[in-house]
Symmetry: C2
Subunit: 1010 residues, 2 copies
């Protein structure tokens, strides 16, 4: 007989033998208990709208080898879990998923879900299509994607989300707080990711929860109660209950071994007290969930049921099913005052040497594409409105959807896997294709004069040139030798009249441009560089699958103008160009003086750029009108990305972790060429084999435009590179610079310094980077130097007098934040891949101190909304004779004030129109324009008769008045009860319909026409 | 503007833009389609009753860091999944889990589940508490654990399982086929694990599905339709749908990307056709599930719904929700004849060099404990019946439950993790503790004479000695100097009168033994060896937590007898022992002749063992009665376990993979000692520092008993060892030997050969190992050499004339079959651990050819059911004068026939009694005993009046007649329609109540008493 562990004294028999089993009913009825510490259990799932998998793959649960995640499971399983106990609650956030799911459900399930939403068991919060990023997103996109989600929720469930829930984005913008939270009517905003040093101090001071005033201009009128979670958005450790999670379950069956109720209750109470220790009031929130959890919701609720039952039986603390709304109301009910927070939570570091400032630039092509589509979507909705929206399509809906999804914090942020980034691009492409049809048919219809004879003529086929960035525009690359005219319709989506130089590729140098009056206008030919042609050909094959059929030789440039929210028409035809205007065949022209000296001056207008010929470098910026003159150097450098070999923290998609800085060195093929012309001068600089720059100075414009071509970034040395451009001056900027918040308010940044805590900085470069959506500037006691960008990038001022932008990143290591890919974008032709090349622009201007905002704001709006060009060919003068050549959507006598932009004009499903007007200036930004503005709505809609104008919340899901009435008024620590008075536009008199806008105010209206 | 992948031509728009979403209803109504290939989708989960986690941990889903598994989730989620569509079906197997879950449910859920079971949507199959092992399990345990499950199912749901579902055990026994399948009324038996070479041939010949006749004796009367799965019990690859599984889902939403219905349908059809290629008839079964799957059942059914819908829409094959019952009926309906299979499916290899023959011996202590408890449970139920069962306890239920769980194919098999093995032992210990109370109170009551004066005397406290194997028996280690008597009640659970030598430790040499008549009887003292005391002390501390208080000096041996199913009483008291009987103080006695020669002869009776003194080794076996004489060597060796360095196949818990054989070498401390006495002689051999052997020859018994102490197996050389004992003779056995099937039928084994295919053998040792539960034997033309064992082990005949048993294994590597632990059992005292020591026995006998079965069968039954001893102390002769000293449960004049054992006598919950009688002999095994036997039931229950006797199926869940009426009669290929006639016992005449039993027949009755 052998010996085993067979005589363990049967202590368990106390339970085992005596207890009769019966069905257990847990008491989950607990509400807030006033005298106790209340632990608000908030059941939630965080469902990325694309990251390691595409949004559709996440929804249906495919591609699980990459990540086990299926949102269908979550939503399917939450319904019976909530029905099983009416005390249980759940919040759902991402409408992109929710809408997919909703469409799949039976009417019975839809009815059930409506009841669950009505009863508050299921609460839709945040409510945008995605949980958008806050660094790489433009505020217009944030508004649009939030509106899309909020209006769906309103129309389907008659509900307005109360809570901002930005738990995962990598830092938090002021715009998120004041615009996308306060202005959409949220009562609070919650998130998880702030700097680890900031967090430590806030835990210490119990200031994780604050009143956040994100806008200097709107102050307390747009403040929000904002809570940072103590660690992350997971449950306290050991309280995770997804299927197969390894947190200890509550084993309360005395018939089985491992009964552990006392231990688990103790651990619950300990975790609650620990959190109470860093939290004001006797309410703490536990975020019971994390990424893609609740695939089988039952597993979570079973354990939470038990905790609520046994913890409350224990009585030391009070556990309850809650939501952020209930939690917010409980906080509010305490009537406490909260610390004040201003500005934003950028940049974000989650530990030493780990600044999440790389993603400000990651995937610059995607970022550029998103920005282009954002602008296009704005313009297209205007045109859709003019023609009348078609529900069955084509319409702008699929672009709206694609753009909304692209705002996700792993989409435009550049932190998804490559195949997912491709999916975002594909969706944008599909959205564009359909929207282009809307644009083209709208223009076709708008150019057709009802009074003229052509009403029976065939529908015009307009074409557009999305790929002008790679010099590819088949509609303009046409042979005009047979008497054809190329008709160019130039649409201006801005509310102001506007003039701009247009460039299109042409195959023939014998072309002339005429305006809508038939008068030839000045134009300029610029030779198409071989470098540009090489990119054009390579990318055509790579992305269109074909080699371009024609080969243009020139860019044809001419100055076009268009009325506000309207179009103008130009004609390009074969013709002999005046000899003078084309300068010379050589295109490289130095004045005789310049031939002798090293210095050459470029620019046909007031702004001159002065170069050193020998160095091939910019040395000075001069504006002869404003008398500004500044020594300026502009150069390219790269940081070599850390490979993680020291502390496992490589530079990657999220994190910027440089380990050296290198100036780009000439590879012996550097070149420097100046092209001059009547409209613009160009300076071509071949910096090295993978950086090419064209600097343009336009006659009528007071700025310099830098077009860079960066890539393929070489990696054959095994080193990832993060390419920056640096602009250096002698300005004494005292460590201070200014960057925009999501394209809107400018925030003061001080190098190596944070306002909220004593910064310990180990990354002097990465830790000083900020997200740039509109631009950044520095100033000294006499000047401001501003740089504006064409897409979101990272930017900084690493030295006094200097600004830099990170333009492109190619890295060879993953940075350990989950994406599990190196950020190494390539483009492939026939399985041969090379690094992605980026073509982009930024704009530089130096103004006298205090005079720069006008350019930043007005020209910033022009960058966002360039002319929309449409092309068609017509024989002879037929078009000019039979068509409408010019149009403004507004009263011909009317333009919007200089400080107001129309950021939304959109026909809604119900035929009403959504109008959003944005004051572009902050308080004190400009002496003339930082004032109350007025818009005459009747003149905006001169062609229509207005029945009713209703002011709405920013996301247009509720009346503004109703929203304001509900708004919670939070107290701020250290201030008297009264908040400082903020000026805002007054109510709109329905008879005169004039909308006032105070600085930085955005007002949203739904307009019903007769 | 940058360049992205933004112009991918929007082919998807064909779907995206045109399809209006609506709720999809899948057509899952399909039944069998006669003209098509039918793919039976059988949704199942395989829930190990303990393996990497304990049964309770698996049930509640704790300890998920080891394995994500929660059976509660499975059963919770299956209910709504089945309710959602009445075409869906599910099978559930393991009653240990199902009963835990059932107890936890509300009445409403119980009612729902009853309906699901009634409708056939939820089918309980196999139906035992666990899916028992088939190698290390004894048939009595298999019957008991199956009965426990089947009777629960019958009483709760009025259902009898139709299908055997042994999908995971590592090889399959004949007993499983004919007893635990055919005799419980199953219509078919399915499993997955057979030798890879056998499988290949069967696929080739389409003979995976057979009619299996497991018993030579019962032949076609106990045959079963048996199907082997083509690969394993998973779905075809790429059809796994657990939450987070990465098989491609069916993406049928045309609004989303990755629509893949055609691809998935094609893959389904291809997999079905591939299986049809190796399967007879147009029915194939897909096992849709695997270990612990369906934690969120919805995920599987969602995909199966889609497959059934789209595959049937496609039409090439017919997919349907099915169960093994439906599949079996479909197979039966084809009226085809099937290949015949006899014998069993051992040993199992899943690839080259991977014979699963290690587990036959793995965890020998646990195997021994299970066998001891099995026997104890049998005896205890008899005693419980005699006293009358108590529902509220103590009763034998918890031992029943623990034993049932211990039969699981990762429990007694020795293939669980260590902590789980400990859990099995703990459960047995708890069960034993309670059952011991039943035994003790029953004996107390049975020994109390109602007619005598002691009815008012205090209740007797009996004690038992479970740990006699480590020489630990506090009740017998008492000081009898004050006139106390030690009362020893000897209970005999067998149906025959029986005499056996008992040994108990005593502290004093001055003790004598008296029988129930007060007459002193012969006894013998044997000194307790230091080696034994060391083990006693170490293991007492390790498992009882205390050092023994007394130190016995001797074993007191005496010969006890007891009536059938009854007891006898012996008294031990202080007294002067006759000098002659104690031999001499030295205990080592050689005759004068022996002193001169090298040869010495041991054995007080007819059997003599002859040793060489110089070699210290057995050289000859002689039986002077039968004149059998055979040269015999007995030795110890070990195989060094392969470390997996060559082909990643180490020797481990499952797999026996030797890479060398070593004879145990003397370490210079070998010793050889002979002790002689009137009752038995002992030969003590210290083989080396970790192997000690005592060989015993008893006066009245014609066999040799080998008690081995093996361990701690040294591993300081870094080599795992698998210790075997070898018995070698000159018998010409022509590669042939015989091993039992689960303790019952003997099956002929031929070395290096399989009947069913041409064996390619790369493992000449491991590939010839078979499971031994009762024993094994060899024979030549005049003799049979038999070895019987005290627990399940692995055994083989590696050379002609030789037998070997693997006794213990200690290994240092995992063998890559999932348990992820090396089989390295240790025992720890104060955190110092050493290898586990095993004490066990085997028995050897040589008979003239044809005369050996009697010993194997009758003595085999005695090994299984040793005397049950109970001790109490009494003053003087009080006990003898006032108590009942002898008892038989049967009519005093009656004993069971020599060829019949009563394997179950048990009072059921409802007061009826379960009686199982087993004929112990196969056809032709013994000239006298392989004949029809008769049992007079009235005499068995001489003390009761029988009302009704109902013959039942083996698992007592249905009337036998009803079962036989339903039985499907399968055709066998190549035989005429008529199956050969098999003789079985006839019907039981209710008036005379005589039960006939044909060879190997087991008959089960439920008896109702007046």
């Amino acid at each position: 007989m052998a010996i085993g562990a067979w005589i363990l004294i049967a202590l368990m028999c106390v339970f085992w033998c005596e207890v009769e089993s019966k069905y257990m009913v847990y008491n989950t009825t607990s509400k807030i208990a006033p005298g106790k510490l209340n632990v608000h259990l908030v059941a939630h799932t965080h469902d990325d709208v694309g990251w390691l998998k595409t949004v559709d793959q996440y929804y249906v649960g495919s591609n699980n080898s990459i990540q086990g995640a299926c949102v269908q499971n979550v939503l399917d399983s939450i319904v019976p879990a909530l029905l099983a106990d009416k005390n249980r609650k759940f919040i759902y956030v991402e409408q992109a998923f929710f809408q997919r799911w909703w469409r799949d459900q039976s009417e019975a399930v839809q009815e059930t879900v409506k009841q669950l939403i009505n009863s508050g068991q299921l609460e839709l919060i945040n409510g945008g299509m995605c949980m958008h990023d806050e660094a790489a997103t433009h505020y217009i996109d944030m508004i649009d994607q939030t509106t899309l989600g909020h209006r769906f929720i309103k129309s389907e469930f008659n509900v307005t989300p109360r809570i901002g829930w930005q738990i995962d984005p990598f830092g938090h913008s002021a715009v998120q707080a004041y615009l996308l939270s306060a202005e959409v009517g949220f009562d609070s905003l919650f998130f998880a990711r702030i700097d680890y040093q900031d967090r430590a101090k806030r835990k210490d001071e119990k200031s994780l929860e604050v009143v956040w005033r994100g806008s200097k201009s709107l102050g307390s009128s747009s403040q929000i109660f904002a809570g940072v979670f103590p660690e992350n958005y997971d449950p306290p450790s050991n309280f995770n209950y997804e299927v197969n999670d390894d947190s200890p379950i509550v084993q309360d069956n005395m018939e089985l071994f491992d009964y552990n109720v006392p231990e688990r209750v103790n651990e619950f109470v300990a975790a609650a007290l620990s959190q109470a220790n860093i939290t004001r009031t006797n309410h703490v929130m536990w975020t019971m969930g994390t990424d893609f959890k609740y695939q089988y919701a039952h597993t979570w609720f079973r354990q939470m049921d038990k905790f609520i039952h046994y913890v409350n039986q224990d009585g030391r603390v009070n556990a309850l099913y809650s939501t952020p709304s209930i939690y917010t109301d409980a906080k509010y009910a305490t009537n406490k005052a909260w610390p004040l927070k201003t500005d934003d939570y950028f940049p974000y570091a989650d530990r030493i040497n780990a600044y999440w400032t790389g993603y400000f630039t990651s995937r610059p092509a995607l970022k550029g594409y998103v920005r282009t589509m954002s602008s296009y979507y704005l313009a297209a909705r205007q045109l859709e409105f003019f023609k009348g929206r078609s529900k069955v399509g084509p319409n702008t809906d699929s672009l709206a959807d694609a753009l909304a999804i692209a705002q996700h914090h792993d989409a435009v942020s550049g932190t998804s896997k490559q195949h997912v980034a491709d999916d975002y691009a594909k969706r944008l492409s599909i959205g564009y294709e359909e929207t282009a049809k809307v644009v083209e048919s709208s223009l076709a219809s708008m150019t057709r004069s009802s009074s003229k004879a052509d009403s029976g003529s065939p529908v015009t086929e307009f074409h557009q040139c999305l790929l002008l960035n790679i010099s590819y525009c088949p509609p303009s690359e046409v042979d005009l030798s047979n008497g054809k005219n190329l008709v160019v319709v130039v649409y201006n989506p801005l509310g102001w009249k506007r003039e701009d130089v247009i460039r299109i590729p042409v195959i023939d140098e014998n072309v002339i441009v005429k305006d809508s009056g038939g008068k030839e206008i000045e134009s300029q030919l610029l030779p198409l560089q071989n470098a540009s042609l090489a990119i054009r050909n390579y990318y055509s094959v790579a992305y269109l699958g074909k080699f371009p059929s024609a080969t243009p030789k020139y860019w044809l440039a001419f100055s076009a103008s268009a009325p506000p929210i309207g179009f103008n028409t130009y004609f390009i035809s074969r013709g002999k160009r005046p000899v003078i205007a084309t300068a010379s065949k050589s295109h490289v022209v130095y004045s005789s003086e310049e031939k002798r000296s090293d210095v050459i001056e470029v620019g046909p207008g007031d702004v001159k750029l002065v170069y050193s010929k020998n160095q091939g470098k910019l040395i000075r910026y001069i504006n002869s009108r404003t008398m500004v003159k500044e020594s300026v150097r502009q150069s390219y450098s790269f940081y070599s990305g850390d490979d993680g070999s020291v502390d496992e923290q490589a530079s990657g998609a999220y994190i910027f972790r440089p380990n050296h800085t290198y100036h780009t060195r000439s590879d012996g093929q550097a070149s420097f060429t100046v092209l001059r012309g009547p409209l613009l001068d160009e300076v071509h600089q071949r910096i090295n084999s993978w950086i090419y720059q064209i600097t343009r100075v336009y006659k009528g414009k007071e700025y310099a435009e830098f077009e860079f071509t960066v890539g393929p970034i070489p990696i054959d040395d095994g080193i990832g590179k993060e390419v920056v451009t640096q602009i250096s001056t002698h300005m004494k900027t005292n460590k201070t610079f200014y960057t925009d918040s999501s394209g809107r308010d400018f925030i003061e940044r001080i190098r190596d310094y944070r306002k909220d805590w004593n910064l310990e900085l180990n990354q002097p470069v990465a830790g000083n980077y900020y997200p740039i959506d509109l631009g950044l500037y520095i100033k000294d006691d006499s000047k401001e130097l501003s740089v504006l960008v064409d897409r979101s990038v990272g930017g900084a001022s690493i030295k006094d007098g200097q600004l830099e932008l990170m333009l492109h990143r190619r890295l060879l290591h993953d940075d350990n934040r989950g994406v599990a890919e190196a950020l190494n974008e390539t483009v492939c032709v026939q399985n041969k891949c090379s690094g992605l090349t980026i073509v982009g622009k930024y704009y530089l201007r130096i103004d006298p101190l205090g005079e720069a905002a006008k350019w930043r704001r007005s020209f910033g709006q022009e960058i966002y909304s360039p002319f929309l060009l449409a092309f068609t060919e017509q024989d002879g003068d037929e078009w000019a004779n039979s068509r409408i050549l010019s149009f403004s959507g507004m009263d011909p006598s009317y333009v919007l004030p200089d400080n107001v932009a129309m950021i939304t004009l959109q026909e809604l499903d119900d035929g009403k129109v959504l109008l959003r007007l944005a004051h572009l200036y902050e308080i004190g930004e400009d002496k003339d324009l930082s004032v109350m503005a007025s818009v005459q709505v009747k003149k905006v809609f001169a062609h229509k008769k207005i029945n009713e104008v209703t002011e709405m919340s920013l996301s247009a899901n509720q009346g503004r008045a109703e929203m304001e009435k509900k708004r919670l008024v939070w107290k701020v620590e250290g201030s008297s009860g009264e908040s400082p008075k903020v000026v805002r536009g007054g109510p709109v008199d329905p008879s005169i319909l004039v909308v006032e806008l105070a600085p930085m105010e955005i007002r949203t209206f739904v307009i019903e026409f007769h």
